[in-house]
Amino acid sequence: MDKIIQENIELLRKLFPDGVPIQLTKTMLEKSTIDASKNIRDFLVKHSLFDFEDLAKGETEYINCQLFHEGSLFERKVSLVRPNAKPNRPGDPRIWIYNLNKNVRGLDWIYLASRDDTFYVIPINTDSKFKTQIESVFGEQLNYVVSSGLKNLIGKQLITDEFVAIFELVKNSFDAHATEVKIIFRGLKTQNATIIIQDNGKGMSFDELKNKWLFVGYSAKKDGTEDNDYRHELGVKRIYAGAKGVGRFSCDRLGNKLKLTTKKDESNSKTEVLYTDWESFEENPKARFEEIGVRHETLAENKELFSHGTRLEITNLEDSVWPRNKLLELKLSLEKLILPESEEEKLKDKKRAGFSIYIEVKDEEAIDKKNTDYYKIVNGPIRNFIFDSLGLRTASIEVSISEDGEQISTILNDKGDDIYRITEKNKYDLKNIRFKLYHLNQSAKLVFSRRMGFPIMRYGHVFVYKNGFRIYPFGDYEEDHFAVDIRKSHKEFSRIGTRSLSGKIEINGDFENIKFIESTSRDAGFLENNSYKELKNCYFDILTRFEKYVVEVVKWGNKIEFKDIEQGERKEEILELISEITGSDSIKKLWYNDKIVDILALKQEDSANTLLLNLQKAAEKTGQKELVQDINLAQKRLFELEKITEQAENIAEEAKVTVKEARQALEFEQQKNKYLLSTDKNISDDVRGMLHNFKIVTERINANIQILTDKVKGGNLNNNELLERLGTIRFSVEKAYKMSRLMTKADFRSKQEKVTIEVANYITEYINEYNTLFEDRKLKFEFNRIGAPFFRKVSLLDLSVIIDNLISNSEKKEANKIRIDFRTKDNSLEMIFSDNGIGLNPEYVQNSDIIFDLGVTDTDGSGIGLNTVSNVLKDNYASIVFYGNGQILKGASFLINFK
């Protein structure tokens, strides 16, 4: 026996000790029969698969098996036969696995095995991947085991900021329906420094302590069971601030020991206490996480807590230094933790019921008494800071995207006066989001500093809130996650940076905005996914609109002559003006301030253009030609300066791109030699698959180009062949393009170009799911289906491109609705593709076959499309004919038959 075969049999014996190896002979394969020897019969009986004793002479029974081949399992029928034999002879039993000879050759070995009532037949080969494939399908199930070292990974090494740690615990209190949470610092100057976070929330029962607090990574908030009690009926549904199940490990960031005391808000509840020593998780990294014990006791009563709630007492503080200025920083940060809302806003939005945070540091009370400034006092409630309350006279822009995502509203305000309010169709894939931005000129910054007692830089700029809680570190000093300052650096003179901005971005609603996922470490913003990118795009567009007002109008001056616009008249000019300053051409609703003209005129009073214009008028009055000439020259130069500035900014932007590109090119060149010298054997199968298919497609293009070139050189190219080959080239190009568009879809990354699919399902799914690929097409699709499923092995790419071509033809015929009927008939599938367009030209209706000929076109196309479609369908063993005009919808119908 071949050594490798032997090894493989040994492997199978380990996995299936009761299995039976069988060596097949050529005769067995030729006659499609294997003698069911005693070994085989005993095996079948032992695993309750079949008993030949129950089979009479001349009878055949069938069972199923799973045949293993290259890591996959094929369902096969197995026949068990007791042939007719001479009288007094039982008839030698036989077994046969259908189509086995497609998988094996003579003298090959197979292994019969069983597990969990399934009968397996495993042909054994010497392929180097055999062992791995067997292990992956039949191998022992292994489980991940977690080291106690996990505590550090999700504790102090993940939550690296103490403020963030406290915020997480405050958020937990909020989510526990607390109306009040106290952050208490005790004995900070002693060895027994303690941080206590105490709330009056719903608390936990013993079961909840065990199944929620101690269940790492589990979040009842995430699976919806957090408030499976009377709170559901109250109608005030909470949005949760945290939902990952790791916030509780924030305690590890703050101190090594935790005493958790909790009492549930129900009658007869007991006080549960849990003692956690985080250091015990660090003693032995080989110890399993779940084996590190935590002490628990149940108290009959407690005196320290409220009647219900949770208290976290953290001692052995990691960093026991909490000096006064750090406490004041904490206070400032806590102020920004919760979305600042006016009382009016709070009443409107019942989702966020009142929630108060208090800081208590008795050691600092003495110094507190010497201060009156809120920001210089440690102890006391954290106030709800509203920027508006500062009364800064500055410009602001407020943008709201509706809950259903249909509309977007913008209000531009300047010094308390609304300038315009517009409502547009929302073009962003965003819902239930609000932006409020303030432009801080020099004077506004000075006023802020005077009133707050510290510069606005220290306060921060534009904060982001999700469901009322701040997402760090957006808005912090020197933080620029959105790259606003980088954006400004590309057009230094016409863009606003973080130093001139203040405000907030509110993201509301768990379900609408579930895709905004906070990083687990809680201090790295959102995960960079499509939603985040869309938010950024929207933010930048808002900034651009804001800049049109606060920068362009103010600095350069608007180009419209205001004296020509009279109030109440010339509405068109005003609308044009607003269109210019909003940069919008799709305004659905508009309100503008009657005094807009005056406001804008005033705004640009000091602008360069206005100044010169005024000078020009004054000079003209004097009649002094030289003066007028000088001013004209100055105007020209100003105009040039504007242009030059714009060009300079553009060049700067381009230069950066160019520099970037050059750097990339240089790096690439440096890497190239290395790349050329080695083959990357580590590219994934998916990439290999895509490359394989790309090569085939480009080969086809090259071959056709080569043929055309040869024929042109030889002077023997006719029009028909030219058209046909161009059609092939075009089709191949469309295929390549399609591949690049569908690259992210798993079906298309496979090496297999041809796949067995249920054709109607695939086409329906393709059109529905990949509708986004049709971009701006406004087509409606309808599907109808009669008959059984129809499976065929086809080229997915060919089919996709064919569908695209048919849809494109319908669009050319002004259709806005397409209906596809599927009908299975006589082992073939009929697909009728109909549209409500203007139909096939009557000239072709009687002899419609010619529309599939080269060069014949019923649209303004090249006439290649339908010919290529017909040829490609033929390659996939299908055909297409014209079915008629007005047969299904009022336009043309085509019948495609898959045989």
């Binding site: 071949d2 050594k3 050759r105 010497t126 290999r688 394989h692 071959a703 499976f791 065929r792």
Partner: protein
């Protein structure tokens, strides 16, 4: 004129057009024949990992090849390696074709692939696995050469490699003879070969393909008589 059969699951008419035009240009004309291995009647359906898949039925492939090309002989058979099939690839197909004596034991085979390095690695891997086992090595090598292709080539512009291969490797005389006889399948040798009288040329061609002792005799006699005939003509 040489003949090359190309077996692929995708239309190769463009490559065949290039093969024919280029070989003609070089004064070494080759005719290409294309066989699509995934015609619907050559597939059977299985449930694989719970989903239906259509797989190549290699028995039907061989049967159809024999019927379709009963009157043809080839100087070379070129197969794609990748057939979008879980069970059959080019190497396995060649093995089946050789085992079934399709067009004779001496028929040369080529495999072309975009991953031709991978194919070579696979083949060499098989050899490496057996190289240390002297008990099985010889047996393995005998069966290996009997079932493997003569060359593995890059897919891009493979028609050039086919031309090169055919130029470099002489078509065995038996194949040439087989091919010639098939041009007149119904004809018979009336008075030259008494042993093989009443056999059609097609039957004789099929006999040559089987590479039996009888076919060997036929070829020897054929050569003897041909030489004698040429000498006679000269005289």
């Amino acid at each position: 004129m040489k003949h090359c059969l190309i077996i692929d699951d995708q239309d190769q008419k463009d490559q065949i057009a290039l093969l024919e035009s280029e070989s003609l240009r070089l004064g070494f004309p080759i005719t290409g024949h294309f066989f699509n291995i995934t015609e619907p009647d050559l597939l059977y359906r299985e449930i694989m990992d719970g989903k239906p898949v259509d797989l190549i039925d290699v028995d039907k492939v061989i049967e159809k090849l024999k019927i379709k090309y009963i009157n043809n002989q080839f100087d070379l058979i070129a197969c794609d390696y990748q057939y979008d099939d879980k069970i059959i690839d080019g190497l396995k197909l060649i093995q089946f074709l050789k085992e079934n004596n399709f067009k004779g034991k001496k028929m040369p085979y080529l495999i072309y692939s975009n991953d031709h390095e991978e194919v070579k690695d696979k083949l060499q891997g098989e050899v490496r696995q057996h190289i240390d086992d002297k008990n099985t090595l010889m047996t393995f090598l005998e069966s290996y050469f009997d079932s493997k292709p003569d060359a593995v080539i890059e897919r891009t512009s493979y028609y050039n490699s086919i031309i090169e291969f055919l130029k470099k490797n002489k078509t065995p005389l038996s194949i040439k003879l087989d091919s010639k006889l098939r041009e007149y399948p119904e004809k018979k040798f009336n008075n030259i070969f008494p042993r093989f009288k009443d056999k059609t040329l097609l039957e004789l061609a099929n006999m040559i393909q089987k590479s039996s002792a009888e076919s060997d005799d036929f070829e020897s006699e054929f050569l003897e008589r041909s030489v004698a005939h040429f000498i006679f003509l000269e005289k």
